[in-house]
């Protein structure tokens, strides 16, 4: 969060603003439901499988079919509930055998 805050300040400073204050607001809580389709495509292009469901449908914790971001196969399995960061799970594609991160619904 501190890094995001610093980068916002730097970007505003570069755009000519001088009196900058960044306030962190926790409510409403950020949710993966706010991700746009374009954002999800960018995640996938980067190699991270985007969230499959919406958090409000309450089914997001059930067994999911997560497509491999490399080869699009749906024959994938969970390796670990937590991946390289707390918001991601580690999956493996059983077709192309690539491991990949899945951005969990939050």
């Amino acid at each position: 969060m501190d890094v995001i805050s610093i980068q916002i300040k730097l970007a505003l400073a570069a755009a000519g603003f001088t009196n900058i204050e960044v306030k962190q607001v926790l409510s409403p809580a950020w949710t993966t439901d706010w991700m746009t389709e374009a954002g999800k495509e960018k995640l996938k292009a980067y190699g991270i499988a985007p969230p499959v469901r919406k958090t409000f449908d309450k089914m997001y914790l059930e067994e999911l079919i997560v497509a491999c971001p490399q080869c699009n196969a749906t024959n994938t399995s969970v390796i670990s509930e937590f991946g390289s960061t707390a918001c991601k799970a580690l999956f493996k594609c059983e077709d192309c055998l690539e491991p990949f991160d899945y951005f969990k619904c939050h």
Partner: protein, 231 residues
């Protein structure tokens, strides 16, 4: 009110610190990463709560003074979070017990008159949901696993059980609603619910086990030795 916020923060900080002790020592790499991530969730939660407490206290208080410059008797965390990790069974069982309690508590805090507490609760519940899911899987796997894993789970449950009642002393969450979640998982894991009636519950009054002093000594050393040092 400030005491309540500090208690929430102390619980999160101490359990986060305990879980972080597994970093580099997990049974397999994926689980090492998992528990380190859970530790980070708790530290993040503690930061939000200490920042909020500091803004209410005012004066010179900051998240750092609250985490690093209070002594054992100032900490109001429940005893369960300061217990040693023990083996993997004890570690995952403590997370399962505590995060289940925490989810019930934070759902009630969503309606708190303090809007910032409600906001922190809303954010944290998303994380806690995954902590429960992860630790439930482990309870099932070890409880209904090998002879040795089952023995270790029974031993862990017997060790942790006396510290459970303290979670319900303030009557915000009831033991019955907590048991309603715990019991079906224990049944599926073919584990018995411990029967001990021994109670240990003075942490919230600042009377701690010997373990908390050692945690604080390690955690606070840098700020005590080099006051006001920053990253």
């Amino acid at each position: 009110m400030i005491e309540k916020i500090l208690q929430l923060a102390d619980d999160a900080l101490i359990l986060g610190h305990r879980n972080s002790e597994w970093c580099g020592h997990g049974p397999v790499l994926e689980q090492d990463i998992a528990i380190s991530n859970i530790a980070l969730d708790y530290i993040g939660l503690a930061r939000n709560l200490y920042q909020h407490a500091a803004s209410i206290i005012g004066e010179e208080a900051t998240e750092d003074t609250l985490a690093y410059l209070r002594d054992v008797t100032d900490f109001k965390n429940h005893l369960i979070v300061e217990l040693p990790n023990g083996d993997w069974a004890q570690t995952i069982l403590r997370i399962f017990f505590f995060s289940t309690y925490q989810s019930l508590l934070y759902k009630k805090l969503l309606l708190d008159s303090d809007k910032q507490i409600a906001a922190i609760a809303e954010k944290s519940l998303k994380e806690i949901t995954y902590h429960i899911r992860w630790s439930t899987d482990w309870v099932l796997r070890l409880g209904d696993g090998t002879v040795e894993s089952k023995e270790r789970m029974i031993k862990a449950a017997d060790y942790v059980w006396p510290y459970i009642t303290e979670l319900f002393t303030d009557d915000i969450v009831s033991k019955e609603e907590w048991l309603a979640i715990i019991e079906p998982v224990f049944t599926e894991a073919t584990l018995p619910i411990p029967t001990t009636t021994q109670l240990l519950q003075k942490g919230i009054e600042g009377q701690h086990t010997e373990h908390l002093g050692y945690i604080l000594a390690e955690m606070q050393y840098l700020q005590r030795a080099y006051p006001n040092s920053e990253w």
